[in-house]
Symmetry: C2
Subunit: 118 residues, 2 copies
Amino acid sequence: MEKVNLAEQFERISEFWAPVTAGEVNGAQIRLVRVKGEFIWHHHEHEDEMFLVIEGRLCIQFRDREVFLDPGEFLIVPRGVEHRPVAGQEARVMLVEPASTLNTGNVINERTRQPSPI
Amino acid sequence: MEKVNLAEQFERISEFWAPVTAGEVNGAQIRLVRVKGEFIWHHHEHEDEMFLVIEGRLCIQFRDREVFLDPGEFLIVPRGVEHRPVAGQEARVMLVEPASTLNTGNVINERTRQPSPI
């Protein structure tokens, strides 16, 4: 039972769009991800996904609109809803999602990563 | 599906130690709580509890040690572990815990609150 300093942990992450797991609470994983550029359109069939921006600015695109998140803002994308995260400059984001959630959701391609422990 | 600005939501909370629910993700609730002073010793029989400090400094006391959390730091207290949150000055904290979690855990007293929606 050790505390986690988000800024320190982000410094240990080298790859963009590859979430690492920083904690687990009642089966939900707390994941950290550095993002930059455009990700892919995808959805998660069975899992809601929470994005809390820690640094930078994250845009979550939907097919009919987009939501911009600044530090201290979060958005919960319900299961089944297609979305694409985009960040013009680097953003650092905390995710809350089940262990089963893949970063690319229903899509498996070269950007798919199994979350690794920190 | 609206974004939540943590700072704005904290401004709407008037009572210390009374969590409000700001979101739900896969059955886990995202709760916000303003804390100041000493809370009570308690544990949660079946639920882990995550504390992420957004503003201020929070001390989580255990029977054998204490952990200080500054903004951007989190601690997950496993189920069954007795603890007491203490904040010399006001701190603003985001919690991740199930809907079933009571703020006072195994203790029901005048400080017990049912979390209310924002």
